[in-house]
Point group: C2
């Protein structure tokens, strides 16, 4: 009918609703529409369930601890992995965050320890060496117990830069620094691999016996 003008009243029918939507939409990858959907879902839950949700977040943030050895998230002072005497304390794998720890743990192929950087060098986002757990890595290595440092960071420009930076920082200790193998994924087809990966997989080819042992 075209005779009604655009109404500039409040967008949300309730201030409480609006503030909850605002909070949710601050999360990464959550837009305002998704936030509203999540909030409306919570409104349909029992108040006790929503209380438990809110409390678990606040409790996590205020009570969480970081392992004094590897910076992993933990409920104690030292995480379960660092505490495990059956693991090889001579191997330290450097990873970006605890999701990488969980991914590597799920392979069941690694029994050394970790060092969680808490990010990778990214000057554009203001993340320099001081923002990462690099000093604690160097002091772990300087203790003399570490035989090998394994770099397991993303193969992005930032990841490669971080590996290069750490490599230089670790060079005075004269111990092997390795990176996890880059190559064609198991089950991947050659024709769909990008040239850089394919090229590297040729340069870093492994003896057939090693491939068989996997």
């Amino acid at each position: 009918m075209g005779c009604y003008s655009k109404d500039p009243v409040q967008h949300y029918p309730s201030k409480l609703l609006e503030s909850a939507v605002n909070e949710f939409s601050r999360l990464p990858g959550v837009g305002r529409k998704t936030a509203l959907r999540l909030v409306l879902h919570l409104l349909r839950q029992a108040p006790a369930d929503v209380d438990r949700f809110g409390n678990s977040l606040m409790k996590l943030r205020s009570e969480v601890k970081y392992c004094t050895v590897c910076n992993n998230i933990t409920d104690a002072d030292v995480c379960a992995i660092c505490k495990d005497t059956r693991r090889d304390a001579g191997l330290v794998m450097v990873v970006e965050d605890i999701r990488d720890v969980m991914a590597v743990e799920n392979t069941g192929q690694y029994r050394g320890l970790y060092h969680i950087l808490g990010g990778i060098l990214n000057p554009m986002d203001g993340i320099g060496p001081e923002q990462l757990n690099i000093e604690s890595l160097l002091s772990r290595v300087s203790s003399g117990e570490v035989r090998e440092v394994i770099m397991a960071l993303s193969t992005t420009m930032e990841g490669d830069t971080t590996v290069f930076y750490l490599f230089r920082k670790l060079s005075p200790f004269q111990l092997p620094v390795t990176t996890i193998a880059r190559g064609i994924a198991i089950g991947g087809e050659l024709e769909y691999a990008d040239e850089v990966t394919l090229g590297r997989s040729i340069l870093n080819r492994t003896p057939y016996e090693n491939a068989l042992a996997r």
Copy 2:
């Protein structure tokens, strides 16, 4: 090397972390990986910000009110739309939830009131007429102030069933029940429209003057 066995230790390095991930992954469309990403994001925020997030959810759930007239979410007893005397109280648009109210309000084309069902009939999910705000719609209509009821529900089988159910419930009151127009979207191309929509748009063709007025 294949010599390490799959380790069955805990999946998450912290119980606090695990419970926060569990809570997030209960939200619709949020899997465990996304939940972990969101929780790690919150861990990087200031504790005061996380407290505000948790509190806003708990406060919303415990203090939110539903409009006694239309069931819209509100901070008062009657929502701003129902309170607005400039709006036409003779028109009631039946919608599924408040997202639909917000969508219609954003068009600026409707100056009547709403009635929020709080869902649509869906026997598979256990949602029958008792779970929806149908009784309050009938009592609004029986007050005699309503001139027309406009159905604005999804064009799904459940939506159509709900409209049919409401139509039968409203028939004793002998007032016009309309549905919003279904047809080709503005900017939509005929060749990409499905046959049902295209067929309905032909059956429900409108005089050219009406189309011009929009």
